[in-house]
């Protein structure tokens, strides 16, 4: 039996046949904005938005066209051009999985573009910002649409580049420049895994296309090579999706402008790892395999780590970053459970795209009104001055903690129930994580929007303009309804089945399952604790010392310290050792030799006294010695 990806229909014409336009539009936008530079300053942002929207339109049309095909024919390959002769041709794979991602990327991405018009209105480099945003979207689309690992890798690197440029957008801030470099370097570690994984795939199977792999790999195959490939790909996914142990870049990435954080966390970048795992799932992460278990364990560990970090952050963006780590952890956990979890993982990815973009943009809106203050201890009582931001943020908050009937409830609960069913320990850890989510997200909302005002007198918070609030409203609508629509009656599951395979048992959504009720109870407990600590009593304006646990979470679970002591310090020692060896060892030999020759010749030249008679004597002695030697040799 072959994997379902073996049967990919070649497709020409129509919207799907021209799906490359989806990538081309934002790429051309980025190109124009970068090449024509200052001349596009006046209308550059509009072009950026138009290109992103055009891409979204193509995605929608392709989606509609794909719906027109029968279920078994919804895997359409589009050949573009010969890329590396004899190795791989560039082509696109339009199937339910890739088109779902494309819709999310272009849809939420376009909203973030629109929002950025307002958010970056006063930035003199707004045009450059939009060119990078377009580049980001184009790279991410190439990543999800490519029908082979090489194209995916190019998009993968493009995403890394765009994220580097955007995180370091305010590069005059040393912290932003450092954060960009950190994101880039940490991502390289993951890229190394993906790249080596691709090498092994190529040497083992001789193909890098999904179709070719689908023809060669029988579902459920498991051996050492497959496990190695799976773990290498997981390393790549960890880098891009900020999973343990490569999570450290994500929190620092908050140095970028807020729309960037929204784009990285909601629509692009961090979802790439989940995409990679789900796309490769049929090949290298079969249900119950060691690689899949590793994915689930990484996901569970990260969802707890992210949640714990989120609890102690006073910086609203860093708190949200912790929650992203945590939510991506849920997706990874779901993706590690085989086809049963894929639909929930992708569903959570989509709904998370909405509510996280909603909250990030909401946080941006708050910062916009608060002179770019990010410390929540200086917020408080903002719900009255920013009603739209408050309502949309609150909806996003309800969605992320899994308030019943909102988007996050369905998708997260789906992951938790599937996990409890397949991997009970990890499943119950996910339940615990949901409780912590309830705490830290409630804390964030209480500190920002409730309580008494703590901002300084010269700060005049105000509601953001419509160009920023309308995207918030659209996103919060998605945060309310999307989850239920996708999960109830298994709409997303059936839609994705042609691409990722069907689960053995068709899941049904229970409103009153034990893990689900436990989750709700824990979330309620978390929210109540948050209210007791941050809602009922005034929040101190200065960060209290806190227990060692608080410090532990504030310092990102000492992830940076660990990296420093494990990798950075030994690396520095190594370079110091190398420098020492170079200076004292290699240079020492060379310099010593030169000094030795110089010194000895300096002594030797003293023989030249200038007295002709001395020379005559030495000639005589030399001649006598030579003659003697000749006589001696002649006698032998």
């Amino acid at each position: 039996m072959e994997s379902q990806l073996a049967e990919i229909v070649q497709h020409t014409g129509g919207v799907i046949g021209n799906a490359w336009l989806m990538i081309a539009f934002p790429l051309v936008g980025a190109f124009i904005l970068l090449v024509f530079n200052r001349f596009t300053n006046r209308w550059g942002h509009l072009l950026g938005v138009a290109m992103s929207l055009a891409s979204f339109v193509v995605a929608v049309l392709a989606f509609v066209e794909l719906l027109g095909f029968g279920e078994e024919e919804r895997r359409r390959a589009v050949h573009l051009y010969e890329f590396i002769p004899g190795m791989v041709d560039m082509g696109l794979l339009i199937d339910p999985l890739s088109i779902s991602f494309a819709l999310l990327i272009t849809g939420v991405g376009s909203l973030i573009h629109i929002y950025s018009i307002g958010y970056m209105a006063h930035d003199e480099h707004r045009r450059r910002f939009f060119s990078y945003l377009n580049l980001f979207v184009a790279a991410m689309l190439l990543l999800v649409l490519a029908d082979n690992y090489v194209g995916l890798f190019i998009g993968w690197e493009g995403v890394g580049l765009a994220s580097y440029l955007l995180i370091g957008f305010w590069q005059f801030k040393p912290s932003a420049a450092t954060a960009a470099k950190k994101a880039f370097v940490v991502n390289r570690v993951g890229d190394f895994g993906l790249l080596v994984g691709m090498f092994v795939i190529w040497t083992t199977f001789g193909t890098l296309t999904f179709k070719g792999l689908g023809e060669q790999i029988a579902p459920g195959t498991e051996n050492g090579t497959m496990l190695a490939i799976g773990l290498l790909l997981l390393l790549g996914a960890c880098g891009k999706s900020a999973q343990l142990p490569l999570q450290s870049w994500l929190l620092d990435a908050m140095e970028g402008p807020t729309p960037v954080s929204a784009l990285i966390h909601a629509a692009t970048m961090v979802t790439a790892g989940v995409y990679l795992v789900v796309r490769s799932g049929a090949f290298f992460f079969p249900e119950g395999s060691g690689a899949a278990l590793a994915v689930a364990i990484v996901g569970a560990a990260t969802l707890l780590a992210g949640a714990i970090i989120g609890c102690a952050k006073d910086d609203i963006k860093k708190g949200l970053a912790g929650s992203t780590m945590s939510q991506i952890g849920y997706m990874m956990l779901g993706a590690g459970l085989g086809p049963a979890g894929y639909a929930f993982a992708i569903g959570h990815l989509i709904t998370h795209g909405f509510f996280k973009a909603d909250m990030f943009l909401g946080a941006g809106s708050v910062m916009h009104g608060m002179n770019d203050e990010v410390d929540m201890r200086k917020y408080g009582a903002l719900r009255k001055v920013m009603p739209v931001t408050f309502v949309t943020f609150f909806i996003g908050y309800l969605a992320i903690i899994g308030f019943p009937l909102l988007s996050g409830y369905f998708t997260k609960d789906g992951i938790i129930e599937t996990a409890v069913h397949h991997q009970p320990i990890l499943g119950w850890l996910a339940v615990l994580g949901a409780g912590i989510t309830g705490f830290y997200m409630s804390r964030m909302v209480f500190m920002t929007f409730f309580g008494e005002k703590r901002w300084a007198d010269d700060v005049h918070p105000h509601e953001s303009p419509l160009v920023m609030t309308v995207p918030l409203m659209i996103l919060s609508l998605g945060s309310i309804f999307l989850g239920g629509y996708l999960i109830l009656s298994n709409r997303l599951l059936d839609w994705l089945t042609p691409a990722v395979g069907a689960p053995a048992v068709r899941p049904e959504f229970h409103f009153t399952s034990v893990p689900g009720l436990a989750t709700l109870a824990l979330v309620a407990v978390g929210a109540i604790i948050a209210w007791i600590k941050y809602g009922r009593v005034p929040v101190p304006a200065v960060q209290p010392r806190g227990s060692f646990l608080t410090t532990f979470a504030r310092r990102d679970l000492y992830g940076d310290a660990l990296n420093e002591s494990l990798f950075m310090r030994p690396g520095q020692w190594l370079t110091r050792l190398a420098v020492f060896f170079d200076n004292r060892g290699i240079d020492g030999v060379v310099n010593g030799l030169a000094a030795g020759i110089g010194g000895s010749s300096g002594r030797l030249r003293r023989i030249q006294t200038g007295f002709a008679r001395t020379y005559a004597l030495s000639i005589l002695i030399g001649a006598a010695l030579l003659t003697g030697a000749l006589l001696f040799v002649g006698n032998i």
Partner: protein
């Protein structure tokens, strides 16, 4: 037969060499060099006689030619040095050194 000539040649050469080494006056040194050259000439001629061909004698002529040329150049140098330094001592002309 010819041993005495060779001994004489050796003695003359040794005297010349010692003169070059121990005398300071450039003219005397120069004459000692001539003495060494002529000691060689004597040895050449002796060996020519001993061996029975003319090559040694021819070489002796060559040596004389070289010696004559050398006298011309050498004396000119010595005279020039004396004019500039008011001294014909070889030890005084020691500027060309390390």
């Amino acid at each position: 037969m010819t041993t005495h000539y060779l001994i004489l040649s050796g003695l003359l050469f040794a005297i010349g060499a010692m003169g070059v080494l121990i005398r300071r006056n450039a003219i005397v040194v120069f004459m000692c060099v001539e003495l060494m050259l002529n000691a060689c000439n004597l040895a050449f001629v002796t060996f020519s006689r001993q061996v029975g061909n003319l090559e040694g004698q021819i070489i002796a002529f060559f040596v004389m030619v070289v010696a004559a040329a050398e006298v011309v150049v050498g004396l000119a140098i010595i005279v020039t040095i004396f004019r500039t330094r008011r001294s014909a001592s070889v030890d005084d002309a020691n500027l060309l050194k390390y």
